[in-house]
Amino acid sequence: MKLKGWKDIPWGGLILEAGNAQKYETGGWRTFRPIWHEDKCKQCLFCWIYCPDGSVIVEDKKVKGFYYEHCKGCGICAQECPFEAITMEEESKFRKDQGGRP
């Protein structure tokens, strides 16, 4: 994203565009990655309710995985899942083949 100059942004750090947090990817902050195990999942949607970042993908009322561009890896979903269908794994494992990059 090209950064704008001071004349071209709203004053005071105000955000005038509702929901534009979507454009700000925070997946790079993650040190642990949630992994969804479909076989154990009962589709209770607890993970979806608890995720503070709206990073659980739900389609047709069913969990499908995570938006890794935004998931910060807090682990709340894994903690709250009653069926141990989410495990947290070290992010570095997934990044080695990308030279450590997201």
Binding site: L3, K4, P10, W11, G12, G13, L14, I15
Partner: protein, 393 residues
């Protein structure tokens, strides 16, 4: 059109606030501001204002409530002094950086410690980098006039900055003077309506206040604040002129008194400017070419005007009612002296720290200052750069 009545500084501040009729007033009592809010709370109790008055548990909360209210689109006010201002510190920066034009009387009082309730400018001078406009008042009339002008200044679309209207604790706040007051209708018409175009309560145009602002944009937002301050002088002058057309009392960034042909100039802010005027009158009778340059607007600092006003002076004394510990001289002195640095022909400039903790500063002391200036002008040398006027050795 105006009526002259007797008011103390605190009472006239409350009277101005009654006319302003802010949507929200959140305040906590502190000497010598107390009577302002006490008087205003009577107006609330009597139903003479429609203000939502929030009795908060501290000044930190008072300013926080004002920030919230102003962000929601309200005209919000508070008032404070000294340690109360110090307790708001965190939030005064936030008010300025969110560009919320909150107006706040600051009844100048010495900061602790040791604890003291009397006047000096250590409280508001400490807040000089917070991003607030600062107007200093010489007497009760100016408290009223500055408060009425503070709203159209701060709320101007090119400015959008909070404004402190400073006046000296006890000397002004508890001194009774005759004050010309506009009719309510006329005052309200002058002040106009406030519309925050980015109101939190405008659900059709949602806005977020206070998001995280890191190395990618924080600097740009500070640059915008600098720009707003740079735009402010024109607005201060415009509003001061409009106010003059209404009342006959014209205001600018500075006021000068017998400055035209003055060789020896004293610069002062607040009530001491009045004492300097009386001193100038006496000295003029003795044939001394003495003058006064009064600082009304310290933020934004009127650099251009000061250079121009001092172009004929030979020696200048800058009176500071606060010490800047570890600096060479008081805060107003430092900026005046720095403003003159590029000038080819510049006067000698001397710093006088005076009146700390309410120490009285009278005509004889100020005569001493002019006497020092005369000596400096004659010899072309400053013998003592920083002086402490009225302290016991």
């Amino acid at each position: 059109m105006e009526k002259v009545m007797a008011f103390t500084g605190d009472e006239i501040a409350a009277e101005a606030m009654r006319q302003i009729n802010p949507d929200v007033l959140a305040a906590y009592p502190i000497t010598p501001q107390t009577e302002t809010v006490q008087k205003f709370s009577e107006f609330v109790a009597e139903g003479r204002v429609s203000t939502d008055m929030i009795r908060v548990e501290s000044e930190h909360s008072a300013m926080s409530a004002c920030v919230g209210a102003a962000a929601a689109g309200a005209r919000a006010m508070t008032a404070t002094s000294a340690n109360g201002l110090a307790l708001m510190w965190e939030i005064i920066y936030i008010a300025a950086s969110y560009r919320l034009p909150i107006v706040m009387p600051v009844v100048n009082r010495a900061l602790s410690g040791p604890i003291n309730i009397h006047c000096d400018h250590s409280d508001s001078m400490g807040a000089r980098d917070s991003g607030w406009i600062q107007l200093y008042s010489e007497n009760c009339q100016e408290v009223y006039d500055n408060l009425i002008q503070a709203l159209p200044i701060g709320e101007d679309r090119n400015v959008l900055l909070p404004v402190m209207v400073c006046f000296d604790g006890f000397i002004i706040s508890h001194g009774t003077e005759g004050v010309a007051v506009l009719e309510d209708k006329v005052a309200r018409n002058f002040i106009g309506e406030f519309k925050n175009i980015h109101s939190l309560l405008d659900i059709d145009n949602p806005v977020t206040y206070g998001p995280l602002d890191l190395f990618d944009y924080y600097f740009e937002h500070k640059r915008q604040q600098v720009e707003a301050m740079e735009k402010a002088p024109e607005v201060v002058k415009k509003v001061g002129k409009q106010f003059g057309e209404l009342t006959g009392r014209f205001y600018g960034l500075l006021e000068d008194y017998h400055l035209q042909d003055a060789d020896l100039v004293v610069i002062a802010a607040g009530s001491t400017a009045g004492t300097v005027k009386a001193t100038v009158d006496e000295l003029r009778e003795e044939g001394v070419r003495a003058g006064l340059l009064k600082i009304r607007t310290f933020r934004p600092f009127p650099q251009k005007e000061i250079i121009q006003k001092l172009s004929k002076a030979k020696a200048v004394a800058v009176m500071d009612r606060s010490a800047s510990f570890g600096a060479i001289g008081g805060p107003i002195f430092l900026e005046v002296r720095s403003a003159l640095f590029e000038e080819q022909k510049k006067p000698l400039v001397i710093s006088y720290i005076y009146g700390l903790g309410g120490r009285d500063t009278g005509i004889n002391q100020i005569k001493q200052v002019y006497h020092d200036l005369a000596k400096a002008a004659q010899s072309g040398k400053v013998s003592q750069l920083v002086n402490y006027l009225g302290v016991r050795e």
